[in-house]
Symmetry: C2
Subunit: 296 residues, 2 copies
């Protein structure tokens, strides 16, 4: 029953995000750049980050236009990171969301430029002219996103990842890497949604704790799926981390303990929300389940 | 006499920019990322863009903290674009500012990540917490910078550049490429400085016209220097565009006509400022000369 309400909400929101991305990712960026950007971001992905933004915004009765822009901006940063991560100098992956990766389709240089332009576009989307979004909120959203994407966040996590190939990391070091690499942007999704409305400090803390737990749970599950699922289900090359000799939660903890860890994090995320006085949190709670129970 | 006042001003400002970049480019980004970022941005470059920001800010009595942040943010975008532009998949250049390029020193993957993190850092620098910069101005600066850096600006120009190797472009097509590739960020430098203060629409237009002319002049002179100067003077590989079979103002117009074009643009830039009712414009006027008269 509650799942049905979530499905209705999420399908509507996914439509809104898809339409907005279609409108905002330029058709007319020159010399094939727009085509590469649209290939990288449209018609693909689970849109988990946009849903987190919009679920958090709903919990705080956030401004709609701002939340939709934040949702798309976060997805643009995520999509750009995948394009760069797939490049030959990084993971050298040829399959993403069941399609050839951007550099396979458009060449390495164009893929790098498309990623660069997508990062800039995220901040363009957050800074509309003509008062569509309150200026102070624009600044707040840009600040949250930039810090999640930068050297202390996603890019920093990727640098650790790069340096960790073939190394043995303990769970603490692995968590630090993922807290930055994927966790920072997932948590920022929740906080950007929260910034679109009004929160008490306790509510903000609850959403931050939820976002942090979700962020880590996502990566634990990613590592589990990498060893338990086929490439066709994942839409990307399965077993890649193992082949690349990268430390994962499965290689560090073992499969059973990794599954328990994911459940603990799901519980922590739900508990943070449940202990708060936020209302309209049903979508956040379901998203915590979806992150852990997903099969791809 | 006036040149002396400019030199005093610019040396002070360059010190301020260098100190600010040193403080804001993180030492502690993990796994060598911070080191690569600092290598890419500190102790190098003419800092033309920061000087344009600060000269424009002075002409409009702009807020100091905002202008200094804008100056550093623009330089971070410029420096990241050089790191990515030098990569093997793009220009494959090994020498920059007289030093090995970032990917030669730190590897291709780290260089790409450093560039990515530097773009994010530009927006971090523009969005300080605690009210150091008015929130509406933060949003304005983020918007101007993102649009100059993105698909319609710098990244778009690089895509045209990539697609133009071996092609014959006419001057119009060449100008379109450079208006985006280097012109957009140079013009944004002027406008971001202008945004730090109060301007009439006519003053804003004058600064925009100045910025556009300077932006194009810069590239015309770049193309001239590429064929007239030695690598040691330039601090990068001379004759590279010619070797790479890239269209340049010299290959399209010839050397003499390119020199005349640079002078026309210098005159247009100075005329735009002179026709306005802006005061404290001396530094902008000298910068127009410096852009055209430079030897590296």
């Amino acid at each position: 029953m509650k799942r049905d309400a979530f499905d209705t909400w999420s399908l509507d929101e996914l439509d809104a995000v898809e339409s907005a991305l279609d409108a905002w990712v330029p058709v007319d960026a020159p010399s094939g750049l727009g085509e590469a950007m649209r290939y990288a971001v449209l018609d693909g992905g689970k849109r988990l980050r946009p849903l987190l933004v919009l679920a958090a915004a709903r919990a705080v009765r956030g401004a709609r236009e701002a939340a939709l822009r934040a949702a798309c901006a976060v997805e643009l940063i995520h999509a750009y990171s995948l394009v760069h991560d797939d490049l030959p100098c990084m993971d050298n992956d040829v399959l993403r969301r069941g399609k050839p990766t951007v550099h396979v389709r458009f060449g390495v240089a164009q893929a790098m430029l498309a990623g660069d332009a997508m990062q800039a576009l995220a901040f363009e989307v957050l800074t509309p002219a003509l008062g569509a979004v309150d200026a102070a909120l624009q600044a707040r959203l840009c600040g949250l996103l930039a810090r999640a994407a930068g050297g202390a966040g996603m890019a920093g996590g990727q640098a650790i990842d790069l340096a960790s190939v073939g190394l043995t990391l303990d769970e603490h070091a692995l968590s630090d890497m993922h807290r930055r690499k994927t966790g920072a942007l997932l948590q920022a999704s929740v906080l950007m949604g929260a910034a679109c409305g009004t929160t008490t400090p306790a509510q903000w803390q609850a959403l931050a704790a939820y976002g942090q737990a979700i962020g880590l749970a996502f990566q634990v599950v990613d590592d589990i799926l990498d060893v338990t699922q086929a490439s066709a289900t994942l839409g990307k090359t399965a077993g890649k981390d193992l082949d690349d000799n990268k430390p994962t939660y499965v290689s560090v903890l073992g499969l059973d303990a990794a599954r328990r860890r994911a459940d603990e994090l799901r519980f922590a995320a739900r508990a943070a929300i449940a202990a708060s006085d936020l209302v309209h949190t049903q979508n956040l709670l379901v998203l915590a389940d979806r992150v852990v129970d997903r099969e791809s």
